[in-house]
């Protein structure tokens, strides 16, 4: 049994209650928020990077957002969409009286123009765009969206703060964006690259009236200013949180936990379990891994438990489990997990021989920009060696990896990671079409086709088991497990609710 120090348990419990409410925090002040780097862009449609969404979700809002249980709930939409019986036509009413940062009232034309831009340029929007027949305004505050095929994940796609389907003033739409005119509780004030992005309170913000719930419900800008400061050096983020210079420090290294815990009353650690998952992508198109039997042998050879232990150390920071969605979530399934964390070198060797493996090198592509990727890959290489494979590590910087993985000729397996999203179709991209790894089989088309056509949430949950089983059978990618995230906040920062994309409305700074 795992023995956790009591203090850790308390922290875990606190983090497990995301979106808990606090006594109303004070108004005023500016919060210094240490983020992991400079945002790739301030255009939330132009980049799928989480950091872009984290910052710009304060400026722009979406038609739908997530509540504390990851259900899509209305934000700029007046209510849930009216869907035709065949699931092909969505009618959505827009809330009336919502003010844009320019002072004008938001209308259906803004929504149509914004969503068209999203379908034109955002990676997720493009896939929705392919299935769209038409999108038009019906009156001043209503839109009608027609599809070729039912799209079960539409609302989750519209709610996701990554490659966001934000609604912007139609006259501000340009590429690149020259001004950032949204409806959010904060408005864009200033960006000084590598120093800060400053958002200031939008006094005419039109809040929803329902109580705050997850990312949804009533949003109130209590802080005068949000100052997102890029601090790529993790140690500097830790020290800045400890000294009180930063009121929030995002994504700290696991080994910083004890320092933050001993940091006194001024700083509070925030541990979010099942924050994300590392995964290995296998090249199903070319090279030695195109052989499915060999991919299955690799799956049997590796021990995810050992990999995660090496990368994170403390068990608080990882979970060794083969189910792709965490327990307690709608898509939890154990289908296929008997193939997870086997580390059976003998059986793997037999399987490889049977599959016709002749000792060809297996090119493992990894980057040290994420140290945990590199550590896990090193452990995996040893596990593969023990099973008679010939792994060949290719350690490159992240920019190089992102480019090389697009070329099916130069790698066999690469390591990456993703946030743990509420809707399985949102990540990894290998579940969609054309992503590196190029998984494209009749079995995939069948199970994912059924899963994506089904709009009944209960039935979709059952169908997900078949998808997970197919992933374990065909091994296009291997889920390593789940990792937790550690952040820290100043005890003065009140009302903060731990979340995957940290947000700072309803958050105040005690004097």
């Amino acid at each position: 049994m795992l023995h956790l120090p009591r203090r850790h348990l308390v922290t875990l419990l606190l983090a497990a209650l995301p979106f808990a409410t606090f006594a109303s925090p004070p108004k005023g002040g500016a919060a210094n928020l240490a983020m992991i780097g400079e945002p790739q862009s301030l255009d939330p449609m132009a980049s799928t990077a989480d950091l872009v969404g984290t910052i710009m979700q304060h400026v722009y809002e979406t038609l739908y957002t997530f509540d504390s249980k990851w259900n899509a709930i209305p934000m700029l939409a007046d209510g849930m969409p009216r869907v035709s019986a065949d699931g092909l036509v969505y009618s959505i009413n827009i809330r009336k009286g919502v003010k844009l940062h320019s002072g004008r009232e938001l209308d259906a034309q803004d929504v149509v123009a914004s969503l068209k831009r999203w379908m034109d340029m955002a990676p997720r929007g493009k896939s929705i765009g392919k299935d769209t027949v038409s999108l038009e305004a019906k009156g001043s505050h209503s839109i009608e969206w027609r599809f070729k095929a039912p799209s079960a994940s539409l609302l989750a796609q519209l709610a996701l703060p990554s490659g966001m389907a934000v609604i912007m003033a139609k006259e501000s739409i340009a590429t690149p964006l020259a001004s950032f005119v949204g409806t959010g509780p904060y408005r864009f004030k200033e960006r000084r690259p590598d120093q800060f992005v400053i958002l200031s309170r939008f006094d005419a913000y039109s809040a929803r009236t329902e109580p705050s719930n997850g990312y949804g419900g009533k949003r109130e800008a209590l802080l005068d200013e949000l100052r997102f400061t890029p601090v790529p050096n993790a140690n500097t983020r830790v020290e800045g949180a400890l000294s009180g210079q930063f009121h929030f420090a995002d994504q700290l290294p696991a080994e910083a936990l004890s320092r933050v815990e001993k940091g006194g009353a001024g700083v509070v650690p925030i541990l979010t379990p099942s924050y994300g998952f590392p995964y290995l992508v296998l090249n199903t198109k070319e090279g030695v891994m195109a052989n499915q039997s060999l991919r299955q042998a690799i799956q049997i050879a590796i021990g995810q438990g050992e990999m995660l232990t090496a990368a994170y150390g403390d068990k608080l920071f990882f979970t060794v489990e083969g189910n792709h969605s965490p327990q307690g979530t709608p898509f939890y399934s154990t289908a296929g997990t008997d193939q997870y964390n086997k580390q059976d070198a003998k059986r793997a060797k037999e399987m490889a021989e049977k599959a016709g493996y002749k000792g060809e090198p297996i090119r493992l592509l990894t980057s040290r920009n994420f140290e945990f990727h590199h550590t896990m890959m090193q452990v995996m290489a040893e596990q593969l060696r023990a099973a008679g494979f010939k792994p060949e590590m290719q350690v490159v910087d992240w920019a190089t990896l992102v480019q090389r993985r697009g070329d099916s000729k130069v790698w066999d397996i690469y390591m990456t990671h993703s946030g743990q999203f509420p809707e399985p179709m949102l990540s990894p991209p290998q579940l969609g079409d054309g992503a590196p790894g190029w998984w494209d089989t009749p079995a995939k088309a069948k199970v994912l086709g059924e899963f994506n056509r089904q709009s009944d949430p209960a039935k979709r949950a059952q169908l997900w088991g078949a998808v997970q089983q197919t992933v374990y059978t065909e091994v296009p990618y291997i889920n390593v497990g789940k990792f937790s995230s550690l952040s820290a906040r100043s005890s003065r920062l009140q009302g903060y609710t731990p979340s995957t994309w940290p947000f700072f409305w309803n958050t105040g700074l005690a004097k």
């Binding site: 500016a30 210094n32 780097g37 400079e38 790739q40 862009s41 132009a46 980049s47 799928t48 990077a49 872009v52 990676p123 997720r124 493009k126 990554s162 490659g163 690149p176 200033e190 000084r192 690259p193 590598d194 120093q195 800060f196 400053i198 100052r227 400061t229 890029p230 601090v231 790529p232 050096n233 140690n235 500097t236 020290e239 800045g240 400890l242 000294s243 210079q245 920009n369 490159v396 910087d397 992240w398 920019a399 190089t400 992102v402 480019q403 090389r404 697009g406 990456t416 993703s418 990540s427 991209p429 969609g432 054309g434 992503a435 590196p436």
Partner: protein, 322 residues
């Protein structure tokens, strides 16, 4: 000075100027090729992890990155010759403006830390030389050795833990809040300057000591002492003045190095300086920024070298007369 020597001088300087232009041309080609031939793609970084390969290809087209290398080079060179270093892919602003903004913290950090290095290094070096072999010399030499071998990131983290988090005297990182006054900015620079200054002083101590020891064993120093001059006058007026030349050279070199950005220190202290800019630009493959920054840094080096050449010509008659 004769007409002849002016002619020689002119020819020398013209030669150096030609060399300078040749170096800069070579640098521009090398910088362009190095950034473009290195693996990695700015568009893949810009669009994020969930972007598809088609999205990336389309974005490359939009930014003209799919054009042949020589076309891209000529386009860039044409811009540079008109004084335009291009537009940053990530920061969406002109590279020249980015460089100008980043030069400020770097320049101040360089000045403060070299100043501090001089204030620590020169007196310690003198003391060490004057009391050569005594306990104080051994102490100073040991400390200098320690300083020279200590990595700046470690010293930086140590200083942050002790002086910023522990004592709370300095901010941990950054360059002050938006709109901060110059006093706040200087407050933010003090800790990194202390770290860099202390580490660099090790080199200055060793050079000062060596240079002073050379001079103190010269005949004219013995003469000065035998004349009965007080030791203070001998050391400071007669020895130090002459020992200063090599010390100034080292100081100048240190300053020039730091103008290019104290990469590690700027990263640890999250200072928005030139070094930090170049590192981040490389990691995200922001080609225009990498090219612009390296070209400007190279130009500054070349210009400083040219200025030193001119000074040599002015100061040293042997150079002037060929």
């Amino acid at each position: 000075m004769s007409r002849m020597s002016w002619g020689t001088l002119g020819r020398t300087l013209l030669g150096r100027l030609g060399g300078m232009l040749a170096v800069l041309s070579l640098v521009s080609v090398l910088v362009f090729l190095l950034t473009r031939l290195a693996a990695g793609d700015p568009m893949a970084m810009l669009l994020g992890d969930q972007a598809s390969l088609q999205d990336i290809a389309q974005a490359r087209q939009r930014y003209g990155l799919d054009e042949p290398l020589w076309t891209q080079f000529l386009l860039w060179l044409g811009q540079v010759l008109q004084g335009n270093l291009g537009q940053s892919i990530f920061l969406q602003m002109p590279v020249s403006q980015v460089l100008l903004e980043r030069a400020e913290p770097t320049a101040w950090l360089a000045i403060f830390s070299v100043g501090l290095a001089m204030l620590i290094g020169v007196p310690c070096g003198i003391v060490s030389a004057v009391w050569r072999g005594r306990w104080i010399d051994q102490c100073v030499s040991t400390l200098a050795m320690l300083g020279a071998s200590m990595p700046s990131f470690w010293m930086g983290l140590l200083a942050i833990q002790l002086l910023a988090v522990g004592a709370g005297w300095f901010p941990v990182s950054g360059y002050g809040d938006p709109g901060a006054d110059w006093l706040t900015r200087i407050h933010h620079l003090m800790l990194p300057a202390l770290v860099l200054g202390t580490l660099n002083s090790a080199l200055i101590i060793r050079f000062t000591r060596a240079s002073m020891l050379d001079i103190l064993s010269e005949d004219y120093i013995r003469t000065a002492r035998s004349k009965g001059l007080p030791e203070v006058i001998v050391v400071f007026k007669h020895a130090l003045r002459n020992a200063l030349v090599p010390i100034l050279t080292v100081l100048g070199l240190t300053l020039a190095l730091m103008i290019g950005g104290a990469v590690v220190t700027e990263t640890v202290f999250n200072l928005p300086g030139l070094g930090n800019l170049v590192v981040r630009a490389v990691l995200r493959r922001d080609y225009p920024v990498i090219q612009g920054a390296l070209l400007v840094i190279a130009a500054v080096y070349v210009i400083i070298n040219f200025a030193i050449d001119v000074l040599y010509v002015w100061v040293d008659p042997r150079v002037r007369h060929g």
